[in-house]
């Protein structure tokens, strides 16, 4: 993959330019907590007026013009119908009598802030959407499509019940594979790819709140907190991985499959970066 070619050069360059820690891109040197603090410091310097807690609102935390329009939308958010639909779906038992509440801790209520997490038995990062579908299949139901529709609505309802809970992603110290997954996600974020040779960092760190092709990229801090998201562009609700795919398409690199390992590792890294911020999903964005 082209990614590997660019990896060494771009990762080193960008990471040393943006982060306080020049090292931190090998399993021995990576320090997630240092990364998280460094990211916050990056934005403190870049947008001195913005409160860290406000980054859950993305671009609206740092751009007044779009914030005003977003406030108007929040008067009566477009995702309200979806939260209701999600609640109904969540509470509807499967054909076998079981329901989603039986698959999740605390009956699935108020648990969004724990996702994604490293699952030791399965040796992989588990996302909420993944576990929603696993719950369905375990109970004889067909899995839902990953990007939009019912899965997004159920995820939206579960996020809604977790609103204002502090995000607390853990990287278990007793399983090196978890740290490796975090590192993969981090590398993915900083690696240039595609026709335009852009990394996530190029637009969402260097380019945050700078008009790029008539859009204002959001800061990476707080990126995942408000998902699933009702995008005006879609006219509907969609999941994080749907956005990952879309963003790849727009930045002219080949999109990966939703819920692929690379995207799950990216979500793991990105959500860890937002530790300390709160869940505020579902959200409304342009």
């Amino acid at each position: 993959m082209k990614i590997i070619k660019n990896l060494a050069v771009s990762v080193g360059l960008i990471m040393s330019a943006q982060l306080a820690t020049a090292a931190g891109n090998t399993l021995e040197t990576v320090d997630p907590e240092a990364d998280r603090i460094a990211l916050q410091n990056f934005y403190k310097k870049r947008f001195p007026e913005a409160e860290i807690a406000d980054y859950v609102n993305g671009i609206y935390a740092v751009d007044a013009g779009s914030r005003e329009q977003w406030n108007e939308l929040e008067e009566f958010p477009p995702y309200e119908f979806d939260v209701e639909a999600g609640e109904t779906l969540f509470n509807t038992p499967f054909a076998n009598g079981q329901s989603y509440a039986d698959c999740f801790e605390n009956g699935g209520i108020g648990i969004r802030q724990n996702y994604p997490y490293w699952n030791k038995e399965q040796g992989t990062v588990k996302t909420l959407e993944m576990e929603i579908n696993e719950c369905r299949e375990k109970n004889g139901e067909k899995p839902l499509k990953w990007g939009k529709g019912p899965i997004a609505q159920i995820s939206a309802y579960m996020a809604w019940t977790s609103r204002d809970n502090t995000i607390d992603i853990k990287i278990p110290e007793d399983d090196k594979r978890a740290l490796a997954a975090y590192l993969e996600g981090k590398k993915f974020f900083y690696t240039k790819r595609g026709q335009l040779n852009l990394s996530c960092a190029n637009c969402h760190m260097q380019g945050s709140n700078i008009r790029i092709r008539a859009d204002l990229p959001s800061p990476a801090l707080g990126h995942t907190t408000h998902f699933p998201v009702f995008r005006s562009k879609w006219g509907e609700l969609g999941t994080l991985h749907r956005r990952y795919k879309g963003c790849h398409q727009d930045s002219r690199s080949k999109p990966l499959e939703m819920q692929s390992e690379a995207y799950r590792n990216l979500e793991y890294f990105q959500t860890y970066m937002s530790n300390g911020l709160v869940v505020n999903g579902p959200g409304a964005r342009k």
Binding site: G65, R213, S232
Partner: protein
């Protein structure tokens, strides 16, 4: 409960009683939906069809709140407000839209002349609010830029 015209007419025809504490005829409107106005393809014709031939005067007592640059043309928040007395209606026109008349709000006495909604704009356009007060027409306009961002997805 919902009653459509067919049910109501049928009930009357068969001599039946219209059941329900608050039976309401559909389209009990103070001002019927003006087809000519809503389907007019240019703003002048739409305004004339809806509000008549009277001159439309720009007024500081009409306020149109809309973004300078719309985040997304599908959902542009707009608020029309007027401090005048005797406001009868407030209408929103979007010059660049295929059919410029977007909405007409009837303001009965006792209702504030302050309405918010969200409109679709196909491209950068002048947005105009026209207030009918005491039989006369007053307006306020603003250009709203609509861009198609590259980060669509």
């Amino acid at each position: 409960m919902s009653m459509n015209r067919r049910t109501v007419v049928k009930a009357i025809a068969t001599g039946g009683v219209l059941i329900g504490a608050s039976v309401l005829m559909p389209r009990l409107a103070l001002a019927a939906w003006n087809k000519n106005a809503f389907e007019a393809k240019d703003q002048m014709s739409a305004m004339k069809a809806l509000l008549g031939e009277g001159a439309v005067e720009d007024s500081a007592e009409v306020t149109l709140k809309a973004p300078d640059i719309a985040e997304n043309g599908a959902v542009v928040p707009v608020t029309v407000e007027s401090s005048m007395a005797g406001v009868e209606s407030m209408s929103i026109f979007i010059e660049g839209n295929p059919s410029p008349l977007a909405a007409e709000f009837i303001i009965p006495a006792g209702t504030m002349a302050d309405v918010s909604t969200r409109v679709r704009m196909g491209k950068t356009s002048k947005v105009t609010a026209v207030v009918k007060a005491n039989g006369k027409l007053y307006s306020a306009s603003k250009e709203v830029k609509v861009t198609i961002g590259g980060c669509g997805g």
